[in-house]
Symmetry: C2
Subunit: 142 residues, 2 copies
DNA sequence: GTACTTGCAAAATATTTGCGTTTAT
DNA sequence: ATAAACGCAAATATTTTGCAAGTAC
C-alpha cells in the first residue's frame, strides 16, 4: 500500500491527517525491517524533529487498529510493526533479534485456522513466529 | 509431562533442584491457563510464601530454555507460559485477554515451516497466535 | 567446599496517561 | 468552533540486575 492510499482510507474513516501521521505513515509503509516504536520515532524525527515518542506510539496503534499494520509482540519485550499485512511467517533470530519474513506460497496456514472460526472465535488477524537462529548466527556457531 | 519427569530431565542436565524450582514446576506443568510470571508467582506463593518474583522469572526462563515450557509474547505486554509444547494454535481474545488453545489435528502448519528450514534458518520452536474475539465476548457484542 | 541460587531492592525498559496547548476539519 | 491530536513529563508495568546470604551437590 502506498502513502496516498493509506491516507485516503484513513480520511474516509474520519481520521484527522496531521503532519505527524503523514510522516509516520511515510516512514512505516515501505519499511520491511520490522521496526519497534522507538525505531520509527528516530527515523521520523530526522524529518520532523519536534515529533514525540508518545505520538508515534499512538499513531502506530491507530494504524494497527485500522488494519494498515501488523503488530508483532516478541520476546525482546517490544512490539514490532509490519506494513505487510497478508499472511506470512516471521522468523525471529534469538541471537541477533533480526526478523525475516517468509511468504507463504504453496499452503496457507490460515486454512486450518479458518475451520475453527466456526467454533465461535471471531478472527481478526494472526501471526506466526518461528524462533531459532538465522543463517548468519548459525554459521557463527551461536 | 509430569513433575518427576521434568525434574529428572533437569537433573540430567546438571540443573540444581531447589524447593523454589520444585514448586514452580509443580504449579506450571499442568496449568493450561497460560499464566504470566506474576500469576505463577501468586499461585506458588500460597505454598511457598517466601519465594520472590525474581526467582519465578528466572525459573520460568530456565524451563523455557530447557524446552519444558513455551513462552508466548502477547500484546498485553506480558509473557505467558504454556507447558503444552507440541504444535498448536493460541487464540487470543483482544477484549478479555483469554487465551484458548486449539490443537492442530488434521494438518500440521509446521510442515510448511520445515520446508524453509533448508533455507538456512535453524528452527527451535514456533508460535501461532490468532487475534480476535472469543465466543463470549463476541456474543456480548464487543 | 564451591559454584549456583535466592530474596530483596533498585534499575532498566517499554508503554501509557494527564494536561495544557495547538490544530485539522 | 470544536473535537481531536500534540508534546512533554510523570506514571505505570514488566522484566532484569547487583549483591549479600543461603543452599544443593
Amino acid at each position: 500500500m502506498n502513502k496516498d492510499n493509506a491516507i485516503s482510507i484513513l480520511r474516509e474513516k474520519g481520521v484527522k491527517i496531521t503532519p505527524q501521521r503523514r510522516f509516520v505513515i511515510e516512514s512505516i509503509l515501505d519499511d520491511r525491517t520490522h521496526p519497534c516504536a522507538e525505531d520509527v520515532y528516530f527515523k521520523v524525527k530526522k524529518k520532523l524533529p519536534e515529533i514525540s515518542l508518545a505520538t508515534v506510539y499512538q499513531t502506530l496503534d491507530l494504524l494497527e487498529r485500522e488494519g494498515l499494520l501488523l503488530k508483532i509482540s516478541l520476546p525482546d519485550g517490544k512490539s514490532h510493526f509490519d506494513p505487510f499485512v497478508k499472511p506470512h511467517f516471521h522468523f525471529y533470530c534469538e541471537n541477533c533479534g533480526k526478523i525475516e519474513d517468509r511468504d507463504v506460497m504453496n499452503e496457507n496456514p490460515l486454512k486450518d485456522i479458518i475451520k475453527r472460526e466456526r467454533a465461535g472465535f471471531e478472527i481478526k488477524n494472526y501471526t506466526v513466529i518461528v524462533y531459532g537462529f538465522c543463517k548468519k548466527c548459525k554459521s557463527k556457531g551461536v
